[in-house]
Amino acid sequence: MMTASDPIAEYKARAISGAPFGPGSHTEKEGQTMTGAQAVIASLEAEGVDVMFGYPGGQAIKIYDALYDSKKIHHVLARHEQGATHTADGYARATGRVGVVLVTSGPGATNTVTGIATAYMDSIPMVIITGQVTRGVIGTDAFQESDIVGITMPVVKHSFLLQSTDDLTRTFREAFYIASTGRPGPVLIDIPSDLASAEMVFHYPDSVNLPSYRPTYKGNAKQIRQAINLLAQSKRPLLYVGGGVVASHACAELSRFAEMTQIPVVTTLMAKGAFPTSNPLDLGPVGMHGSKYANMAMTECDLLIAVGARFSDRVTGKLSEFAPHAKVIHIDIDPAEIGKIRDPQVPIVGDAQGILAGMIEQAEKAGIGSVGSEWFAQCCEWRKRWPFYHDEFTDYPGQIVPEVALDVLSSKLDSATSIVTTEVGQHQMWAHQHIARDTTRSFLSSGGLGTMGFGFPAAVGAKIGCPDKQVVCVAGDGSFQMNAQEMATAVINNAAVKVMILDNRALGMVHQWQKLFYNERYSSTILDPAPDFVKLAEAYNWQGERVESPDQVEGAIQRMLDAEGPYLLDVAISADQNVYPMVAPGAALDDIIGAIDLTVGGVRVSQKGAGNATKEGE
């Protein structure tokens, strides 16, 4: 189902082929004598890199010097290496391409660690190049030496400490290949600075040969047939989809499969957009802050088809009560995910796109029609009964309601032409619940690591990768301050991102836990009263505005979206507003606090399953 004009599909096919993403050996630099530093830049050009993100320093200065001559690569200078790494990550998530980072040794390298770990947890393809002290002094605690290969070992897909210029070009090809194939992830290349000045002859390989790394793409045909057999017997099938669907570019196949079988779909944070919110079959967010109806569907289903999802604890709740009636089909390209948390009846290792295509074919052959429709009708009943939010409902009258503000934002964005990123906290969960997304790679959020400070630089990277799209970061006041320095990067690089802060003057998500589980002892979660975000915006040559009353919201959001340059909108909300519904940590998925129940008059209730409801706050 890939079309010729689909750049993500083309990039994926190229990645798997092992050929360089750019011209490879077919450049005027091929065969030339040059320094290692020049060969680093030539290698990046051979991989078709046109933009990279970084921050210079002593052990990277030679590479930066070589970069100065490149006509093909635009370097985006961040204001912090963590910012650079998240920016490259956002670029990678938005475009599907490998994000490239260049930093110096020691503190430059250690500053990238959170960014690398964030990318690793969410399986994002990146290549991180770190300068290193000269080979002769490695191990002597030389100035700005850090063992970055050792430090990052648990959070990279693979890493290289370059030992000789003979290995340089092969290392780059392997790094791009490993980062972008199988289950994608970050790959680090540490380059001692003496190699950067050593002379070498540049030859770029046009293929890879890595016998110890052979991802499985093709799903086992027998297991696909078994999966369809299970489906034929199922009365209450449910698709549970994760970020693997995005990475595999399997969205078209997923939609086709869900529609032909009428199986409802729940999506993790990582999969948002992989299945259109506008498709009625979409039950949306599931898990700790998922809807009551999606969590009910998880609990009541008799067949769970997990596609590129990893049964995260934020999704499953209490494991022993997770999907208790369900047989499980688990589709994943990473064999280690299968059986890690839940043992499936049918495991299928491979690329989700091909496997779903195979399942469509088998289901057609077996004459499986809309097996899910009756059960889907039941899910729709639940959806009517327990909506995320409805208009007649207010927790804090007179104040701006975050859910409503996000609904307004969502209604003004077309997901084909926009990207929403989030920081981490309550605002992230509200965005997950209320921003409608119909397009893959149009919603970017740190799922696995939950990194505050990710969303804003990621938005800058997304805007640089997709300059024609409207890019909005839904931020918290706490998270935004973790990488606010990147406002300079945005404005200087003409990355006209929009930042909408849901400003509760608090570390809201932690505050909420303190309110619910720690007797309202608000230890270190109040951020009042600084800073003045509008002044901060002005300091960086951004436009900015603050709104405090509900009737200003719509106009302010419109002004933000219409602005030509970067724009910060500070939206005041109550610090006491909780994200609901919520499954308490360690509780079962259908044991839900604070869902709105229309059958008892549109109030928030606490209720296990569809059992007795108690009103919240009673």
């Binding site: 290969v149 050792g150 070992m153 648990p154 897909k157 693979h158 400490l161 030992q163 490993i178 890595l210 016998p211 110890s212 790394y213 990473d334 064999p335 280690a336 299968i338 059986g339 890690k340 043992d343």
Partner: protein, 160 residues
Amino acid sequence: MKHILSVLVENKPGVLSRVTGLISRRGFNIESLTVAPTEDETMSRMTIVMDADELGYEQITKQLHKLVSTYKISDMTGEDTIERELALFKVAAGPERRHEVIEIANVFRAKVVDVGKNSLTIEATGDADKLGAMEDLFRAYGIKQLTRTGKVAMSRGARD
């Protein structure tokens, strides 16, 4: 249950810490570990003994497979494998009891490799049972020092 894993990896710096780091990060404990280059110098073989239940064992082998530096993992647990370990015992024995210790060593086809004033050093190879039995017997004399290499393992010829 105890598992013996034979892991074929790239013979490169850092690979050992990738493997051990991964095992400890996933919450497992290595009981013993040996590493040395194979007949092909670009590869090393690690023999890892660890305690894990079936699920844990499956998870750790899958994770190890994912390392780009890993070529192959074989399960050496069970009857079809030859497992050996080398041990050096420094046994407390003055001149008057030396012959007893030497006799025990002979029974196990072990070698005396050093003689001190008040000790004998014995080199022995074998499986865990044999080395355990020797240890028990030598304990009666006093073991001043004991060093074991950790297991190495290989599948029996019939399997190839």
